[in-house]
């Protein structure tokens, strides 16, 4: 699986037409689903936005692909794409790591924001990308999420945030921690209005992102099997020496524990959002 996950940007998808500037696809290439172990054509995986055609396992989805999945064709205007992170602590190795991530993903940082239409309704959108240093939240993620919130507020639009994050970006130390506060104060203002905030939790979403904007929403959706929590299972097992149950922290687990509203298959997500925004507009 890794093979294509890392190479994924060397492939274009056949249907539907892409907006994420990527090249041609080699239709003959196939790979093995790490979940069901069945061989799958890259092309099919691609056409299904990285959901296994055989077992429906949801693999991480690049931010631009997510935007393509959710927004009406041709309606997404990206905002603040030029922001990149400084290196406030001059943290050993961070600059290189960030440069490499930018090169690898073609993104300025781990989130893409903008305004687009979802079923003909304009909404502010923020989509995280786990491929960019594990979707970790540093100054840029915090700033761009805050700006997405402000775009929604200024234009009186619904807000949709799709999270995928390993947590804080340690290279930015306390600056990373403070992005939780930054996004919270921005959200507090937005919530004075009456437009809905919908949070979509994807695999994996942990740490500071879960403990701030990702869970402060009016409606919380999660993708099937997505692992969501504050501390990761491995850390918990190391700390408490406790064996964790099957399915711990999955979307299904969180639904059962009252933490999310709905579990929505990736290929049904756009339709689900259209229903919700339609009911609330």
């Amino acid at each position: 699986m890794r093979s294509w996950l890392s190479k994924r940007r060397n492939y274009a998808r056949t249907v539907p037409e892409t907006e994420s500037g990527v090249g041609q696809i080699d239709v003959s290439v196939f790979t093995r689903c790490k979940k069901c172990r069945q061989p799958v054509y890259e092309r099919d995986m691609r056409a299904r936005f990285n959901v296994c055609p055989n077992c429906e396992f949801h693999y991480p989805l690049p931010a631009r692909e997510r935007v393509r999945l959710l927004t009406d064709k041709g309606t997404f205007e990206e905002r603040d794409a030029d922001l990149v992170s400084g290196d406030p602590l001059r943290f050993e190795g961070y600059a290189e790591r960030a440069a490499k991530a930018r090169k690898k993903t073609g993104l300025g940082d781990a989130v893409v924001i903008g305004i687009g239409e979802i079923g003909g309704r304009r909404a502010a959108l923020a989509v995280m990308d786990f491929d960019f240093i594990g979707g970790s939240m540093g100054s840029v993620v915090g700033e761009k999420v805050a700006r997405a919130i402000e775009h929604a507020r200024e234009e009186n639009l619904p807000l949709v945030v799709v999270s995928a994050s390993g947590g804080a970006r340690m290279f930015e130390g306390v600056y990373s921690l403070m992005q939780m506060a930054k996004t919270s104060v921005a959200l507090a203002r937005y919530r004075k209005g009456s437009q809905p905030y919908v949070s979509v939790l994807t695999d994996p979403t942990f740490g500071g992102v879960t403990a701030s904007f990702a869970t402060a929403a009016d409606v919380i959706l999660a993708e099937p099997g997505a692992r969501v929590g504050f501390a990761g299972a491995r850390v918990i097992e190391q700390t408490t020496k406790e064996k964790l149950p099957e399915g711990f922290q999955t979307a299904e687990f969180q639904l059962e524990h009252g933490m999310v509203d709905r579990i929505v298959h990736r290929l049904a997500l756009k339709a689900d959002l259209e229903r919700l925004l339609g009911l609330l507009s």
Partner: protein
């Protein structure tokens, strides 16, 4: 005793030894006073040049004055409130309505309780809150808003707790709830980091109008040991990680994250608790005086602007 304090302890022991031998005789006085000078020098040398990681160790010192010491020393009366009204009462965080000795103001006082003995330390989970704790705190924030009482939060936690129950009951949701409550509460919010300021567990108490840190306290997105094992893949490099994280009070003041560094006696708060308690008491009165009478909307707006502007992002040259 902390490792780096060994030279001091050794000098202290030898001086005590000589005093015993000397008895009435004058013979050893010269040597004793020489050692005493050496002791003073050693203290100054060691304690004034504490490395970030050494400060972390001082912040974790078992005898360091904690929530209970401040509660008892700084308040005329502390009327404790308990429970989240939902599931439980978390002993890791305590709070209530208090009247401060300095200035006589009534406030909502809360903080992490690391306990005073083994039993209470365990009961308080060493200051690591569960969701019940964050939700009790949220209740206190809302009461403060309802009664127009300033909030005073004393931060001293290794961090949020990594445990099954904490996740099952929505720790992340609970922390997020505290942040949203602090972002909206229409009363002055004053946070003091008195020891450890570990990650989200600490932040849930320091989205504030004023954040002060004791000289040897720290505030960090992650514990240096954990950072070392993740970033350097070697937990023994905590010393380095601590330095890299810029987690000391002075660093954070320089970076404009906190408002003030409150001095500690040479060697740390535990070497002269009274001095620290007085420092904090006076700082509290001063800060609350400064914030009192502020219009609540203006207060909330300033709080917004303060946190909204924290970040190290730059526009990429097109």
């Amino acid at each position: 005793m902390l490792d780096f304090e060994r030279p001091i302890r050794e000098l202290e022991d030898r001086i005590a030894e000589l005093h015993r031998l000397a008895g009435e005789s004058e013979g050893l006085q010269a040597e004793i006073s020489r050692l005493e000078d050496a002791l003073e020098a050693a203290k100054r040398r060691i304690y004034t040049n504490l490395s970030p990681y050494q400060r972390v160790q001082v912040a974790r010192h078992p005898e360091r004055p904690n929530f209970r010491a401040y509660r008892d020393a700084l308040t005329e009366d502390f009327y404790e409130l308990s429970g989240d009204r939902l599931y439980g009462d978390d002993a890791a965080v305590r709070g209530g309505i208090a009247r401060l000795k300095h200035g006589g103001r009534a406030v909502i006082l809360l903080g992490h309780d690391k306990g005073s003995d083994v039993k209470s330390r365990v009961r308080g989970n060493f200051g690591m809150a569960h969701p019940e704790g964050y939700r009790k705190v949220r209740r206190l924030y809302e009461l403060a808003g309802r009664f127009g009482l300033p909030i005073v939060a004393l931060v001293d936690t290794p961090g949020a707790f990594s445990g099954r129950g904490a996740e099952e009951r929505g720790q992340a949701w609970a922390i997020s709830g505290d942040l949203m409550a602090l972002a909206e509460v229409p009363v002055p919010v004053v946070s003091l980091v008195i020891g450890e300021g570990g990650s989200g567990g600490a932040l849930a108490m320091c989205l504030a109008d004023y954040v002060g840190m004791l000289e040897n306290s720290y505030l960090s997105v992650i514990a240096p040991e954990a950072c070392a094992s993740i970033i350097f893949r070697d937990s023994s490099r905590a010393e380095e990680a601590a330095a890299a994280l810029k987690l000391t009070a002075r660093d954070l003041k320089e970076h404009g994250i906190v408002d003030e560094v409150l001095p500690e006696p040479l060697g740390g708060a535990h070497r002269d608790p009274e001095a620290v308690l007085a420092t904090v008491g006076e700082a509290l009165e001063r800060v609350l005086d400064g914030l009192s009478g502020a219009d609540s909307d203006a207060l909330v707006e300033a709080r917004h602007d303060r946190y909204r502007s924290i970040g190290a992002h730059v526009g990429r040259p097109a």
